[in-house]
Amino acid sequence: MRINRPNKTKNVSRCPQLIAASVFFVLCFSLFTGAYALEAKRSLLENGMTLMVVEKHNLPVVKVVVGIKAGSIYEPEGKSGVANLAASLLTEGTFKRTARQISSEIEFVGGSVGASAGEDYITVSLSVLKKDVELGFDILSDIILNPSFPEDELKKKAEIIKADIISSEDDPSYVAQREFNKAVFGEHPYGRLLSGTVETIEKISRDDLVGFHSGYYTAGNAIMSVVGDLSSQEAEELIKKYFSNWRAGSVTTVSAQKIPVQKKRNTVTVDKDLTQATISLGHLGVSREDPDYYSLTVMNYILGGGGFASRLMDNIREDKGLVYDVHSYFNPRKYGGSFEVSLQTKNESANKAIEEVLEEIRKIRSERVSDAELTGAQLFLTGSFPMKIETSSRIANFLIAVEFYRLGADYIDKYPTYINSVTKEDVLRVAKKYLDPDNYTIIVVANQKEAGIREEYSK
């Protein structure tokens, strides 16, 4: 397994000054109004944390998500996996509670806490019944502010993650995804495995975790969303009580790490005794903050994002019967992203499926889409949007993304306009600009003898 070297980060304070403890609301306004009646109150706390509160009183539940800029892009050189380990060890012991106490205390009241790492940021989540919200906040602040990263828990967690990595080698989709990110992003941190590798995990010490936590887990790096049966005043009081000691730190930024742009075809084959070929085809995409994001969303919906209505599905599944599923997607992150088509087909059909994917990419780059396709995409994207943010959990995670990617206080109101203002010309323009049927990466995880990938795809 090749290890990608992480890039350097800068402007990360290791000795952040403590800021006055009291939580003070300096900004306070209504975030969303209008069509979907999702009223979020956004405030910037004195210690630098952004808070979003949505009151939802239909059920006695509260969901809290804390997003912290402590994802894998901030990992130091050679320590790939530290962000994931730090996040997953939050629930494995604090200076006040053992791992078992954390899980028992929260599960005793029918709630849950958990943390998961991403590339740009990590999230820590709390789900709890309203009557136990006090305990929920106590545990949430304890695991975020005071994790002790016990040596024995680190050892165990590292073993479990390593076993998981080894087991995932049997999963062709996992292997294809890992190879795809590695090939497309090269040495950039987005090209690494979030979990780290067996080799890098072995090099991570408790000191690495303590250092990573103290550098990045700061209030200035955090966004908190509170959704559910809680008034904003109740939320503010809880935060004052449980998070006022969170030091501000300094806000993390990442140096402008260039993602190497690929200008040739690149084929990676992984030989495995499988009945099916798992194929990923694509290249670099865009950042979530790119102004073309919405045109790309519409274009990709027509190409392969839109389930049974998409061209790839219609051609490769419905017409040719080659696959059970085929999808294309842009995976945008903060500092860049990827475009990928993924499918699984019989080993023997691999070449045919690749040929059809490339043909569809060429087609959408050369002709305008039809009126019906454009309208269909716009109707679906705008019509399904409110249903994506119906539960507390979805709203809470959505609010973190809105704030992190600076989508704007009026994002919900504006989303239909963003999508509906995309024209057929925009679709053609972004297809030409962002899709490349000549310089791409193909990953084929298959029985290579049976798949016999044609040379033209690698040259």
């Binding site: 979907y36 239909n58 059920l59 006695p60 539940v61 629930t91 791992a99 078992r100 899980s103 028992s104 599960e107 005793f108 009241v109 029918g110 709630g111 849950s112 789900s127 709890v128 019944l129 165990k156 479990i160 993650i161 076993a163 998981d164 080894i166 087991s167 049997d170 999963d171 062709p172 499988l274 009945t275 099916q276 798992t278 839109g306 389930g307 049974f308 209505a309 219609d314 599944r317 419905e318 019967g321 080659l322 059970y324 699984q344 087909t345 019989k346 309208t375 269909g376 109707l379 679906f380 994207l381 019509g383 399904s384 949007f385 409110p386 249903m387 119906e390 539960t391 507390s392 959990s393």
Partner: protein, 418 residues
């Protein structure tokens, strides 16, 4: 607000209205799945489910997909061992359009010949995907070992050779025999207009024929067998289990509680003992598979070859000892966990639609969350201990291991399971 009415042909329509959401989710549940098949037509329920999206007298398959998308809707279906479900979720303002689409595919599908042939290839791809995914395949292997080559032992997807033999005639006949009023429940959850819902459904599903051939029913024996399937994989996948209780059993709440204590959540016994304390597995959990007349209490664990025996040994010990060692604290925790899960699940219109439909199918009635929590709260520690003793007793465990292992690895350990 829950409501149940009967459509003109007797089909129960169960609904739960909430004014605080903007979506509506409607599902048509047919009591037919892989357990109603036999080895000669295994996979036909799932195959049929796919064919309902391939065109009607009014719409081509492409038109179905486009119309659904134009509503921003989620139109989909799923098949299990006992049911086949078709559902649509859309914004409340599109209710009549959504019902139009859902009922058209349900009643007007024509199963075009060329689509049947194409679908055989697509389902073959789906079957191969499962074959290439060890943590999914081990569950199919386990079910087959536990229940044998019929009923609950049959996989939902079926096998490729049998599927290749399906004809339009066999599909139409199968639909005729199963898709009858007496076998259907309709469920709706979210924000909707009652009158519109009932009148639309009466004009459509309310006219489905109600002649139904009696379902063959037989009780299946639980086989506590050891089944070792060798495969050159990086890790081993273990399924272990005992006969559980049925979905309709009066003891089902005890079963849920016992399962929660054993293997649901990070504070559960198996997670703590096998993963947290000993670090032997990367994944372990227990589950209840309940059917209308039977049940399986299962445990899944993923580990490396050298720890397989240890994991089985410790898990079996945990289960054998649970009736003597379970505490009041664990019982209260499990009750609260079930309470929390139940309350959070009420947020989603999909899960609420599923919940009221399953209740109608299993019990012919609705239990409010408060009633369910009352049943859960009523279980005492003595009840649970008595139940666990009876369930576990000296009963043999069923075991399936899939991975880099061989039968002889287990010869010396058979007694653990007996």
């Amino acid at each position: 607000m829950y409501k149940k009415v009967l459509l003109d042909n007797g089909i129960p329509l169960v609904s739960f209205k909430s004014n605080d959401v903007r979506s509506v989710c409607v599902g048509i549940w047919v009591n037919t799945g892989s357990r109603h098949e036999d080895i000669s037509n295994n996979g036909i329920s799932h195959f049929l489910e796919h064919m309902f999206f391939k065109g009607t007298a009014e719409r081509t398959s492409q038109a179905i997909a486009m119309e659904s998308d134009n509503l921003g809707a989620e139109l989909n279906a799923f098949t299990s061992s006992e049911t086949t479900t078709f559902y649509i979720k859309a914004l409340d303002q599109y209710l009549s359009h959504a019902l139009g689409l859902l009922t058209d595919i349900f009643q007007g599908s024509t199963f075009p010949l060329q689509e049947i042939e194409k679908e055989k290839g697509i389902i073959a791809e789906e079957i191969k995907m499962v074959e290439d995914s060890p943590s999914d395949l081990v569950h199919d292997l386990f079910n087959r070992s536990v229940w044998g080559d019929e009923g609950l032992g049959l996989s939902v997807l079926g096998n490729i050779e049998v599927i290749n033999g399906f004809t339009r005639d066999s599909l139409v006949k199968y639909r005729e025999s199963k898709y009858a009023a007496g076998n259907i429940v309709v469920a709706c959850s979210g924000n909707f207009d009652d009158n519109l819902l009932v009148s639309y459904l009466n004009k459509t599903i309310g006219r489905v024929h109600d002649s139904l051939k009696p379902e063959k029913s037989f009780s299946q024996k639980f086989n506590g067998k050891i089944n070792i399937v060798s495969k050159d994989l990086s890790e081993s996948h273990i399924c272990l289990g005992l006969q559980g209780v049925s979905a309709t059993s009066a003891e089902r709440y005890k079963m849920y509680l016992l399962n929660t204590i054993l293997g649901a959540g990070a504070s559960s016994r198996l997670f703590q003992e096998v993963r947290e304390k000993r670090g032997l597995v990367y994944s372990i959990y227990s589950y209840n598979a309940t059917y209308y007349d039977n049940g399986l209490w299962g445990i899944y664990a993923g580990t490396d070859r050298k720890h397989v025996i240890d994991v089985i040994d410790i898990t079996v010990n945990e289960i054998r000892n649970i009736s003597d060692t379970v505490t009041d604290y664990e019982l209260t925790k499990a009750k609260n966990q079930l309470k929390g899960n139940l309350t959070f699940a009420l947020e989603s219109t999909n899960s609420r639609m599923t919940s009221i439909a399953r209740q109608e199918i299993n019990y012919g009635r609705y239990y409010t969350p408060e009633e369910i929590l009352g049943f859960v709260d009523a279980v005492t520690l003595d009840d649970l201990k008595f139940f666990a003793k009876k369930l576990i007793g000296g009963n043999p465990f069923a075991l399936t291991v899939y991975g880099p292992v061989s039968e002889r690895d287990f010869k010396a350990y058979e007694k653990i399971l007996r």
